[in-house]
Amino acid sequence: MNEIVLKKMLSPEIKLYKIRSPLIAKKRKAGQFVVVRLDQKGERFPLTIADSDPREGTITLVVQEVGMTTKKMGLLKEGDVLWDVVGPLGKPTETEKFGTVVCIGGGVGNAVVYPIAKAMKAAGNRVISIIGARTKGLLILEEENRAVSDEIHVTTDDGSYGKHGFVTDELAGLLKDGLQVDLVVAIGPAIMMKAVCDLTKSHNIRTIVSLNSIMVDGTGMCGACRVEVGGKTRFACVDGPEFDGHQVDFDLLVARLRMYLPEEKRAMEAFEEEVGERLTKQAASDSSAGEDHG
């Protein structure tokens, strides 16, 4: 159990893992996540279940390496075992036939939005995807998202691929052209979700976002994941992670994500020192593997 059966580089800082976890694979629904611990001294951290294969008993995780724990995960190899994987956690996405659903992903959010787009499509919706990244080499899961969408739009901030600009620009364009939208699902960095919500609010389009607050247990026991939605405190791990974006206090989310910055830095430094050599070597081979974006 919890063995890495496949590891794949999607971009220099994003990797995909298939983990053997038959029970979770059978049970999970779109929008749910797992909490992972890498080793006995590791922290518990949440990752969305991007996909699952109940037949082969695996779940797919797509991880962006932003700090110590996600970088440590990046050093694991196929055959290695994650110490703990608990899930599926959180409320599943409400998937019903809404009509036209626009699914927007930014960065690693493209992995989080993918299972939702897939479920929305399966529920009979017309799915229009807008996926974006800073630059071409960082764009992930384009083919996967394309396969579950009726229409897909790709943007890069630097114009190296697809349309030049942000995902919000693309959405604004579609709305301006008169596209009738019944629901927007937006997943990515907090600022991106906030920008999408500002836009859809003015068009009065219901918008679902997935909040990536800091978590510990993921079962409603600690309150680390507190967010404010419609002026009320909610626990993202059990009341979410998906909420009505127009009600979310994004500034609070952003502030709370910064809570451990000095500690994260300290942990990263200690980690880099510890595995410095290994890490540099791996990084070198990683960047050669992802060189196509130049």
Binding site: R44, D84, V86, G220, R226, D251, E264, R266
Partner: protein, 471 residues
């Protein structure tokens, strides 16, 4: 033993780490009796014919019985006597509120010096562990072929699992967290209850044949119905009262505000006090306010001190006599330097532009007429608001029921607070074959009550299973 014993009113003191030292380490505070001290303290017991202490014990340990063995120097027999009714003596000897239970009723209590029953219990339990000599190897019992699922590996679930395994049933414990023990591992700190002791008790339950599945959340990965439809003949719900309450005042989501559950979980379960050796970080405030006055608040205060906070204030809205924490722990906290800010109630938490705590506004309280609980109700003193200069706030005002299990179990009756309705002698719920006990039934209570509920339910579950065909 015939001649009348001379009455001694001098309780043998518990050796403890020096407060100045211990306020900065996580090692156990109370060091435990030596055999000589134990014998000396045991000698004070009158081994009453009609002991008053025993009815005060929720699981009715044969108190004079075990103490008599200590008097005679046979510590192994003493442990066995306790273990006949209490399977967790090393834990209970440390955390039970004996001053409200057995010791409160001891005949010597009237004279102000009850026998130190808890300390003696702890002594013999630790003796057994050290010697490893008298661990009772359970008799091989024929398997009944019945399977029971236990939800939660806290004291209640562990007790049910142990008792049912001893009776020949096949038991699986499902625990949501990655470590078993419930509050004993995520809530109560190392300096009060070393984790190795909890591990020992868990190992014992496993040695009886119970299987443990950690990182397994019932309600998500499997529901109670799925357990009952699948391999299990009965289910015990011992999932505790783990939902942290907040005060619902402005500023509670600022950075630097923790629930006691989060603060203690980071420190205990995740070992954040060893950061960065362990990966989980924890914020160490310079001046910390802990809101509340129970055991959870004391544990939070004392943990904050040990993590290195300069000042720790315990903010409680009633007065000293109403503090619900154990007397011993209040004294320990005070000795270590925790300051008690009594008759104060937080009104809001203040923050800076970046979202960090910069202070807490409180209002002074005075005691009015007694309320339903019989305690005098605290009423705010008009216009007495003031700002407490703190940079961290830990909210320790209580816990409630996590709705996950109940909300995914149709037909399971709950009360208005979300606790599961269960028969007080059998633990039977509104669902056939589903039993419940511990904090999820009573609301946040004590280790020994959770354990007692587990024992009662184990008996009832055994009877239920034996009634079923094919047992």
């Amino acid at each position: 033993m015939a001649e009348k014993k001379k009455l001694s009113l001098k309780r043998e003191p518990m050796p403890r780490q020096d407060p100045k030292l211990r306020a900065h380490n996580f090692s156990e505070v109370a060091l435990g009796y030596s055999p000589e001290q134990a014998i000396k303290e045991a000698a004070r017991c009158l081994t009453c014919k009609k002991p008053r202490c025993v009815p005060g014990c929720p699981v009715e340990v044969d108190i004079p019985g075990f103490i008599r063995w200590i008097q005679e120097g046979d510590f192994a027999k003493a442990v066995q006597t306790i273990k006949a009714t209490n399977c967790l003596p090393a834990v209970c000897g440390r955390v039970c509120p004996q001053e409200d239970q057995c010791e409160k009723l001891c005949v010597l209590a009237k004279k102000g010096a009850p026998v130190a029953i808890g300390r003696l219990e702890r002594f013999v339990a630790d003796y057994e562990a050290q010697q490893g000599c008298c661990v009772q190897v359970p008799k091989e019992v024929p398997s009944t072929g019945k399977r029971v699922a236990v939800v939660g590996a806290g004291p209640s679930g562990l007790t049910v699992a142990g008792d049912l395994a001893k009776l020949g049933h096949s038991v699986t414990i499902f625990e949501a967290l990655h470590e078993p023990g419930g509050v004993l591992v995520y809530g109560i700190p190392e300096f009060r209850l070393p984790k190795a002791i909890v591990q020992r008790e868990v190992d014992f339950v496993k040695s009886l044949g119970a299987e443990l599945k950690t990182s397994f959340v019932i309600g998500h990965l499997q529901t109670v119905d799925e357990l009952m439809d699948g391999e299990y003949d009965a289910v015990y719900l011992g999932n505790g009262a783990g939902l942290p309450y907040f005060m619902n005042i402005p500023g509670e989501n600022l950075n630097g505000v923790y629930s006691a559950n989060e603060f203690l979980t980071r420190s205990n379960l995740m070992r954040a006090y060893k950061f960065p050796e362990y990966d989980t970080p924890i914020k160490v405030g310079r001046k910390v306010a802990v809101v509340g006055g129970g055991n959870v608040a004391m544990d939070s205060c004392r943990t904050a001190l040990r993590l290195g906070s300069e000042e720790v204030l315990c903010v409680y809205r009633r007065s000293r006599v109403e503090l619900p924490a154990r007397q011993e722990e209040i004294e320990n906290a005070e000795e270590e330097g925790v300051q008690f800010k009594l008759l104060n109630n937080p009104v809001r938490i203040l923050g800076d532009d970046e979202g960090w705590v910069t202070g807490m506004e409180c209002i002074r309280m005075e005691l009015g007429e007694p309320d339903e609980s019989g305690r005098r109700r605290p009423v705010p003193v008009k216009g007495s608001e003031f700002i407490m200069d703190v940079d961290q706030v830990i909210v320790a005002i209580g816990q409630g029921a996590n709705p996950l299990v109940a909300s995914t179990t149709p037909g399971l009756e709950i009360n208005k607070w979300g606790y599961i309705v269960a028969d007080s002698t059998t633990g039977a719920t509104s669902r056939k074959g589903v039993y419940a006990g511990g904090d999820i039934v009573t609301g946040a209570a004590t280790v020994i009550l959770a354990m007692g509920a587990g024992r009662d339910a184990a008996r009832a579950i055994d009877a239920y299973l034996r009634e079923q065909k094919g047992c």
